[in-house]
């Protein structure tokens, strides 16, 4: 899953298996909000990757990925922002 991750801090994110909804990993499990999401340092990636594999096996989530944070601790890339906040257009 880990593909040339460059940043220093990340969130572990995934889609809920049943709904496809974007979720983030918190101390209490998966949440649709980033508020309590665990901030993961680069050297903890392996540990959280194992967690994500375990969680996928439980059939709760799918397509787990690490979301990179910028220096201020906000989600860095536009794609991940859209993933988190939803589509940018009015329907």
């Amino acid at each position: 899953m880990v593909k040339k991750l460059q940043g220093e801090a990340f969130l572990l994110s995934a889609n809920e298996l049943r709904t496809g909804k974007v979720v983030f990993f918190t101390k209490k499990g998966w949440s649709s909000s980033t508020r309590e999401a665990i901030k993961i340092k680069a050297d903890e990636i392996n540990k959280y990757e194992e967690i994500s594999i375990r969680e996928e096996k439980k059939c709760k989530i799918v397509s787990a990925k690490f979301v990179e944070l910028d220096d201020a601790g906000n989600i860095k890339t536009l794609r991940d922002k859209i993933r988190n906040c939803g589509i940018t257009i009015k329907i």
Partner: protein, 550 residues
């Protein structure tokens, strides 16, 4: 329209049951995501950025009012009240939930629809000319052939795990309204020495390696069509590359082998493996043609009503074309209403259109590859009445073929593969060029926008193509010029360095100014001018005082 036989119904019903079984096994953990993915894809189910997406097949773009109503029902009950019509004449729902999908498929099966093979590495939904059966210069209606190929390709045991996806389009006249030449196989019905048969093209496609299909067969007798397709697919399944996803389409195989070598392999398979049972006899051709007969249209001398209403006049001029039966018109419904994602229709619009098709068009609707809809058989005398009603539903935008009639993929707002957004770009274009007179002055012009190199928005074949890129986290847009998806198909040329979202409209304006400057007469459209003067003139005007921000 085609009507399902009992066999069709049973096959679809058993497929729904099978998918329900697969979904349950997935939810219980008996199927891994790796194993489930190709199975769900073969049922049109993707996982996108923030939800699942279900792509429903609309074979050769033909819908009945009942089917359109069912799509509206699904949009309301299982989604968020809208759907998105695609460049392969399908419809996508953006927010279904996995456990609901078998139920949605069941609902679809009740109106003879499904989502089979709308994704995955198999033969996809067969696409065609949205004006099939409606125009005078047609040699033969392509839809029956699409239906024959649809059946043959559905759950084909040998071709369900191809190196990559496989798209086939069939057209019935010289004019190409189905982008046939950028399909893996393009089929054109032709007449030679009083005999009707097929001209076959192979290896066209877009994506990161855009290629115009090459002719592999000058004339194929009707009866051999399935055996010949089978010979091509046999060759591809065996020889196509599987080591690199970007080189796995048939176009790369044809390119690497050369068309002559590829053709000789196909011909060998055709002569050695052809199966008598796949030959199509006259009787079964006639049987299938019965389903596609025109509704009972009585020709008349009825004229299009003249009303003193400029908007109506614009709409007639832009969106309405003559039917082959006198006294009737083909009404093209633009899904490019300003400020709306191109190709989107709300459930209310779908319901309204279903009603209009019943009142005015023998319950028939067509979907175009340019993401618009068509009411195919409207009596001329009803046109003003229909327009008035369409207008109330925001379905009377008079922009068919004009600059705001863009093709546009969902882009990064929805798609997990996209590198930039595309819908906001198309909205900017439609806001900027909103005025009908201004658009009319620019004339016929196809802008096509893709949010990544996979080219779902057909940017390679846009007269002006726009490709969204990610440059160090910022969205940039590369412009190509001179592409065409028609019978004179061409891949656009990159004009130069890309533009930021802010500079893009300005760049388009400059390109249009170059066009206007060189236009010889009122009728000379953008593509003709481009072909006459070449890309250099455009480059010169575009980049002279322009420094690219990076």
């Amino acid at each position: 329209m085609y009507k399902y036989s009992d066999t069709d119904k049973k096959i679809i019903a058993s497929r729904v049951k099978q998918f329900e079984n697969q979904v349950n096994r997935r939810l219980e953990g008996k199927l891994t995501e790796e194993e489930f993915k190709p199975l769900r894809l073969m049922n049109g189910l993707y996982l996108q950025l923030h939800a699942y997406m279900l792509r429903v097949a609309i074979p050769y773009g033909e819908l009945s009012s009942k089917q359109l109503r069912k799509l509206a029902f699904i949009a309301d009950k299982y989604d968020r009240g809208y759907g998105h019509f695609t460049t392969r004449q399908n419809i996508q729902f953006n927010w279904p939930k996995l456990p609901d999908v078998p139920e949605i498929l069941n609902e679809l099966s009740l109106v003879e629809m499904h989502a089979i093979q709308t994704s995955g590495n198999c033969i996809r939904n067969i696409s065609s000319d949205h004006l099939a059966g409606l125009t005078i210069n047609e040699i033969e209606d392509p839809r029956p052939w699409c239906e024959i190929i649809r059946k043959w390709s559905t759950f084909h045991p040998e071709f369900s795990f191809l190196p990559r996806k496989f798209k086939i389009a069939v057209i019935g006249c010289d004019e190409d309204r189905a982008a046939m030449l950028v399909h893996d196989i393009g089929i054109r019905i032709i007449k030679r020495h009083c005999q009707v048969g097929f001209e076959i093209f192979v290896g066209g496609g877009q994506g990161r390696t855009p290629i115009i299909a090459k002719k592999i067969k000058n004339f194929l007798p009707k009866k051999d069509i399935l055996n010949y397709l089978e010979a091509i697919l046999t060759t591809y399944n065996q020889e196509g590359r599987r080591d690199n996803i970007y080189k796995a389409r048939i176009k790369i195989l044809v390119q690497e082998l050369g068309i002559e070598r590829f053709k000789s392999l196909v011909e060998e398979n055709f002569s050695k493996l052809s199966n008598k049972e796949l030959e199509i006899d006259k009787k079964s051709i006639e049987e299938i043609f019965q389903y596609f007969r025109l509704p009972p249209l009585k020709s008349s001398s009825d004229k299009i009503p003249l009303e003193d209403n400029q908007e109506y006049k614009n709409w007639i001029k832009q969106n309405v074309i003559p039917h082959k039966i006198k006294g009737f018109s083909i009404v093209q419904i633009s899904l490019k209403e300003p400020k709306k994602p191109p190709g989107d229709a709300t459930s209310n619009q779908m319901k309204a259109l279903a009603k209009f098709s019943e009142d005015f068009s023998f319950s028939e609707i067509r979907v175009t590859h340019e993401q618009n809809l068509v009411l195919p058989h409207v009596p001329n005398k009803e046109l003003f009445n229909l327009w008035s009603q369409l207008k109330k539903e925001n379905l009377a935008t008079p922009n068919l073929g004009l600059i705001t009639d863009t093709i546009c993929c969902p882009g990064m707002d929805y798609c997990a593969l996209a590198t930039a957004r595309s819908i906001p770009i198309s909205q900017k274009i439609s806001n900027h060029f909103n005025n009908y007179c201004k658009q009319k002055e620019i004339g016929n012009l196809k802008i096509k926008i893709s949010g990544c190199i996979n080219a779902c928005g057909h940017h390679h074949v846009g007269n002006i193509g726009i490709l969204g890129l990610d440059r160090r986290g910022e969205e940039f847009y590369q412009i190509t010029l001179g592409g065409s998806a028609k019978e004179d198909a061409a891949i656009g040329e990159i004009v130069g360095p890309s533009f930021s979202e802010t500079d893009l409209i300005d760049a388009i304006e400059k390109i249009l100014n170059t066009y206007k400057k060189h236009k010889k007469n009122k009728g000379e459209d953008f593509l003709s001018v481009f072909r006459r003067i070449g890309i250099k003139e455009f480059k010169k005007d575009l980049y002279d005082n322009f420094t690219e921000k990076s």
